[in-house]
């Protein structure tokens, strides 16, 4: 696995499948303190190792996105999804 294959989920296209490598929160541009955003993402199941698939996106700017995380579908904005680093090659 090379470092290049890691992208932010917020940059992914519809149909992308991958595995979460890390949560990297700098908190810029979101309405929450970084720690709070991290905890909310984890509570919705975004933890390292979980499989994700980008299912749908909205009309304007491809935002928000609907993401399959393990057995759950979560809607969120790309801005917050930038904190979720995923690796396409890590997927099963």
């Amino acid at each position: 696995m090379t470092l290049k294959s890691i992208i932010a989920l917020g940059d992914a296209q519809v149909g992308f499948r991958g595995r979460i490598q890390a949560l990297s929160i700098d908190g810029s541009g979101t309405g929450l303190p970084p720690q709070e955003l991290e905890r909310r993402l984890i509570e919705l199941g975004f933890v390292e190792g979980a499989n994700v698939e980008l299912l749908h996106e909205g009309l304007f700017g491809g935002d928000p996105i609907a993401v399959r995380v393990a057995d759950t579908t979560i809607a969120l904005r790309r801005r917050e999804a930038m904190a979720i680093l995923v690796d396409a090659e890590g997927a099963e």
């Binding site: 749908h56 909205g58 609907a66």
Partner: protein, 625 residues
Amino acid sequence: MNVATELAPVVALVGNPNCGKTALYNALTGGRQKVANYPGVTVEKKVGRLLTPAGRAIRVVDLPGTYSLRARSPDEEITRDVVLGKLSGELAPDLIVCVGDSSNLRLALRLVLELKRVGRPVVLSLNMMDIARRRRIEIDTDRLSRELGIPVVESVAVRRGGTGALLGEIDRMLAKLPAAGQLQWRAPDAGELRGSQREADRILRATVRSSGQRDRGTAAADAVLLHPVAGIVILLAILFVMFQAVFAWARPLMDTIQDGFAWLGTAVQAQPLPDLLKSFLKDGLISGVGSVVVFLPQIVILFFFILVLEDLGYMARAAFLMDRIMGGAGLHGRAFIPLLSSFACAIPGIMSTRVIDNRRDRLTTILVAPLMTCSARIPVYTLIIGAFIPDSDVWGFVGLQGLVMFGLYATGILGALGVSFVVKRLIWRDAPGEPFMLELPDYKLPRLKSLAIGLWTRATMFLKRAGTTIASMMVLIWFLASFPQPPAGATGPAISYSLAAMLGSLLQPITAPLGFNWQINVALIPGMAAREVAVGALGTIYAIDGGEGAADKIGQAIAGQWSLATALALLAWYVFAPQCASTLAVIRRETGGWKWMWVTFAYMLALAYAAALITNQVARALGAG
């Protein structure tokens, strides 16, 4: 309530949103509460009592859905405080039932691990087992119970007897209830959350076998319903059909109700009673209440749509589709549900803003919620549209009256978007937006029973209002319109000597530029109690003013006496006016003070006056005066 049930053990139902917790609560207690798919729709604390199979009286508390005890919204704070026994006046639960959706256990298991730290006995109820089995998901409940260290039972809330195992376990656990353990819970940090989710994932892998496939029906439906373009087109089409249905479908039933009340009035008229009493019963009570009850079919149809969409799981999709559009106006995607509910009534809409975590997002939503066209405006709109807008078709298939109605709804929506835009961009422009994160649950067919319970609750609430608040206002109006009685030998209509006429004339200088006459002024005053009262009030005023037969035909009466400009100005007024005391009271309660209530009242009044003024003046200039 006797002492035995007052002291009965408390069983708290906790679970993720959409886990079927409320359905389970209904099944356990036979409670009258709606089941919904939208995360966080269960806002209020619900306590039901029941007897277990062993004859033990228990109390069951249904708590708002949550992913964690780390409360992020007022809604989730209730859950946290009840579970931790912190809520004043509420006993700490003796037993916690964690409800999990069997086909989606991952987040529920993490919640279980957190709940175990509360120091109370916990049982995991694997709910919706029927759906999990159909999807060939196999759960090793014994192993799951060993891994978690707590009892695990299966339940199917929507099937008769589907709660037997859970009730049996509740009985067993309450029989040998240990002393309350140590409260070990504290708000977990990111590291702890991560650790417990990993542990939950490990347990899940060891105990649950599933194909990992999405629910096929949901995947297929979402391919269309969440399509960037088709999804929005379908959403708009659904809303449009909804509003047309409110008018077209309700018509025959409304005619029947109208005929019924007219018959009642005639029957009273024929009785050998004093004239004043007859006038009170027929013109005050029967025509007043009748003119409001007639709108029951429309309200039931509107709620039918809202409840079905909620139970289907479509509401969360609607929030997804609308997030960006609403975001442009400074509203949070989650505000979609409260605002949509406000089309029925602003009160439940404002109360459901508790699902919005951020205080400013929540306040903005509360401010604009009353601009959504609530069902209480329908009577007023219908009356005026019926009287002034011809019942013809445009483009061959769309009714003109329905189109005007749609326009009024659209004006309210645009007004709300405009106000929230101004608030967000001018007043709170420094605050960054709250994240939009929302689970999109699998679609589920609405259950007829829960739908029926929901509609029944709404209909009885409306009728109760019509029977109490509205009826008493009608009596007051009748009194104002009947006294003092005209002097002997008076030539003008009786009402022009009454208190009502005096009040109406007092307001005349203020409302004259809007084109309102004194009859409208009089109707607007009791309309503060509830918007639809204005219709009944107009009926009362014109019934007395116009003599026999006019009460049944308020529309004809106003069509003959108002100009089109006046009618349109009144419609514009009603789009914006803060004509509802109960809504203002709820705003005060939900925002914790008078300030936002007065802000809402003032800005709506200003908008209403401006809108009516412009409408009247423009319409007159165009020759509709």
